[in-house]
């Protein structure tokens, strides 16, 4: 990997206790939302993180910013260990890492004006002293995201979904971050508005030299905006590589199935297409299959898949990594079955 890594996760785990509750105090099991993720986000790139609902992609995004505490592994941000930061260090880290959320209706305070929302990070981080300078900066930020600075005095309900998402982006940019995490930032928008926001994010990324982590279930959108793509399945990154390679010649059977399930707006191509239709559902993250976690749905499953947990290994294009035994059996043999992992799902 290149020297210029901004954010890096090694063996990152976020496990939640589940069940129990009520009068039984002890948790009944472990939900392995993020379960041993190795991932580097390079400075100045857009990394797309795709996966289906429940695969842990949002939890991973949150864990990178320590919005949820990791239960294992490490995260480094620009060389410093995020898990070991004190309050002051964490505050500075969060200035340098912004977040855009999925639902622009829920992520803005309905009782605060756009100006109040966008200027809060300026106040918190002491970036502009004086009301007038903050107001000027809010105007700049709104202009940057394509809104008229004159709307600063308005409330969120006066805006459409797309405009609210722009306000959310302006707020995330207020701290002059290096790193921006967009968690399903276009999922709740209409198609024509999605395109506006995608174009905006791409422009901002270039203009400001941002490093972007674009989390989405929409492979087409991820393919469009990303330099590299990471694919998650059941708490683990199972494939990562250049967008062109992962988006057109994936090496991991799950990515292949995911890609073949994405509907294309071309009738002739759609009719000619051979879909890989996976059987069954994603196993529960509180009962992860032992060995390869995709083996219960994989069309190519063979002997080592049951008892060797595959590690990411080079496959396909330069810089492309896949966690699959088809490229050679590499990984950790399964000896004991930890809690939340089932040997025979």
């Amino acid at each position: 990997m290149s020297e210029d890594v901004l954010v890096s996760a090694r063996g990152l785990e976020v496990h939640f206790p589940v069940g129990g509750g009520g009068f039984r105090r002890a948790p009944a099991g472990v939900l392995r939302a993020v379960d041993g993720v190795d991932l580097d986000v390079l400075r100045g790139e857009t990394l797309g993180l795709v996966g289906e609902s429940g695969c842990g992609k949002s939890t991973l995004g949150n864990a990178l910013l320590r919005l949820v505490p990791p239960t294992g592994g490490t995260v480094t941000f620009d060389g410093t260990d995020v898990t070991a930061l004190d309050r002051r260090g964490l505050k500075e880290m969060r200035r340098r890492a912004g977040m855009v959320f999925q639902d622009p209706f829920a992520s803005l305070d309905p009782r605060r004006t756009v100006a109040q929302t966008v200027s809060e990070p300026l106040e918190v981080h002491g970036l502009r002293s004086g009301k007038r300078e903050r107001a000027a900066r809010v105007g700049e930020l709104l202009e940057l995201v394509g809104l008229d600075p004159a709307v600063a005095g308005r409330y969120p309900h006066e805006f459409s979904g797309g405009q609210r998402q722009r306000v959310g982006i302006a707020r995330a940019l207020a701290g002059e971050p290096d790193f921006l995490v967009c968690d399903e930032a276009i999922a709740s928008l209409d198609v024509s508005v999605q395109a506006q926001v995608l174009n905006l994010l791409r422009r901002l990324q270039r203009q400001l030299g941002l490093t972007l982590l674009f989390i989405s279930h929409d492979l087409s959108a991820v393919r469009h905006i990303s330099d590299r793509i990471a694919v998650m399945y059941l708490g683990r990154v199972v494939e990562v590589g250049p967008a062109a390679a992962v988006g057109s010649a994936p090496e991991m059977p799950y990515t292949q199935a995911l890609l073949s399930a994405v509907p294309l707006p071309h009738p002739a191509q759609e009719r000619a297409r051979q879909r890989i239709v996976l059987t069954g559902d994603v196993p529960s993250p509180s009962a992860v299959p032992s060995g390869c976690r995709f083996r219960t749905r994989c069309p190519y499953v063979f002997e080592p898949c049951d008892d060797v947990d595959p590690a990411l290994q080079p496959a396909g294009a330069p810089g492309q990594l896949a966690a699959c035994h088809l490229h050679g059996v590499v990984g950790t043999p399964v000896t004991a079955t930890p809690e939340g992992v089932t040997a025979d799902p």
Binding site: D190, H224, V277
Partner: protein
């Protein structure tokens, strides 16, 4: 597939809703037909009136706020003037409906079995035991593992994809001639969406059901539809065969919609650069205040005709079916059974330079 009588004929459907901001014209003169075994996709963004148009068909809009006019013949019977008792019989037996969210369209406190049996017994004199075995058979048909056991489970015990299968089983329990799927796969993951689409297509082939597929996802449309109807501002702005509409879009809105779509199959430049999306600026018009001329005029990048602003363009034929196919369509665009030969129509003044030019 059996050609012939259309299952559903909708003519000049209009829906006006009473809202605090004044009357909203949500659907403005929609006409289409659905043949047996045919899939018609109704495409549009939120607020385009696509869901309201089908809710109106089945009388599911509250009468206090909605005024529905026009004609909608389901196998010859007008749904809009039907007596409430008859309409109750038709819902389910004549037309089944699958809604977007399988979490909310099932009753959480009743078992899957009870919800299926209720539908089966409401439309026929069936004993409880027979209805139960029919229910298990339906669940098997939609691909639920362990159908017998699933009858005694509650909705929360099933995954989203499995719940949607149950909803489809309920919709199909009385072998309706028409199935309306309103954003039926939108809440599902793509791999599950592929399973559900396969399932509905298989069942459709088997039973010759006509399907209205409402969606905002043009990718899904390309895979399943025979015919596409693009809605904007409560009007049909373009319709035709799926190939015509998606590969040779004539209306600037349809072209904008397709241009806004990140495309996995799009060619990549030599530097690995994916071209910028051509987003449509602005927002759809509110149904309480529709533009006087072309509904798309306020956002349209073309505006090539002086009439755009002031005069509403009619839905006119932009091109006949390619030579070779018999002109099987009548002037009103009625479906004649073979899918080919349908006119490609668009409601726009700006069709020049479109005909024949396919998008990249």
């Amino acid at each position: 597939m059996t050609a012939g009588e259309p299952v559903l004929e909708v003519e000049d459907l209009r829906v006006r809703l009473r809202t605090p901001r004044g009357p909203a014209d949500v659907v403005n003169g929609l006409s289409y037909t659905v043949g047996a075994g045919e899939t018609v996709a109704v495409v549009g963004e939120s607020g385009s009136g696509k869901s309201v148009s089908v809710l109106a068909l089945l009388g599911l809009l509250p009468a206090r706020v909605a005024t529905v006019t026009g004609r909608a013949l389901l196998q010859g019977e007008d749904l809009l003037t039907m007596a409430p008792d008859r309409l109750r019989q038709v819902r389910g037996a004549g037309a089944g409906m699958v809604f977007q969210d399988p979490m909310t369209s099932l009753n959480p406190v009743l078992t899957i079995g009870r919800q299926l049996v209720e539908g089966i017994r409401a439309h026929g004199d069936v004993s409880k035991a027979d209805a139960r075995s029919r229910a298990a058979e339906l669940l098997r048909e939609v691909g639920l593992p362990d159908p017998e056991g699933a009858l005694d489970r509650y909705p929360h015990e099933l995954s989203g994809g499995m719940r949607q299968r149950v909803v489809i089983a309920i919709a199909l329990s009385n072998s309706p001639s028409l199935l309306i799927a309103d954003e039926a796969t939108t809440a599902l993951d793509v791999t599950v969406q592929a399973q559900i689409i396969d399932l509905i297509e298989g069942l459709q082939d088997e039973h010759g059901t006509g399907v209205i597929w409402i969606t905002h996802d043009l990718g899904v449309v390309a895979g399943i539809a025979d015919r596409v109807l693009v809605m904007y501002g409560g009007r049909c702005v373009e319709d035709g065969t799926v190939d015509d509409v998606l590969e040779r879009p004539a209306h600037p809105y349809t072209r904008g919609l397709l241009g806004s779509l990140p495309d996995l199959a799009a060619p990549v430049g030599p530097d690995g650069e994916v071209p910028e999306l051509t987003a449509i600026p602005g927002l759809p018009p509110p149904p309480t205040d529709l533009p006087q001329g072309c509904v798309f005029w306020p956002r349209c990048p073309v505006r090539a005709d002086p009439r755009c602003e002031t005069e509403q363009p009619p839905l006119a034929v932009v091109s006949r079916a390619p030579a070779g196919g018999p002109a099987g369509a009548t002037a009103s665009g009625a479906y004649t059974g073979d899918g080919a030969g349908l006119p490609h129509r668009a409601a726009t003044w700006c069709t020049e330079g479109v005909d024949g030019g396919s998008r990249g």
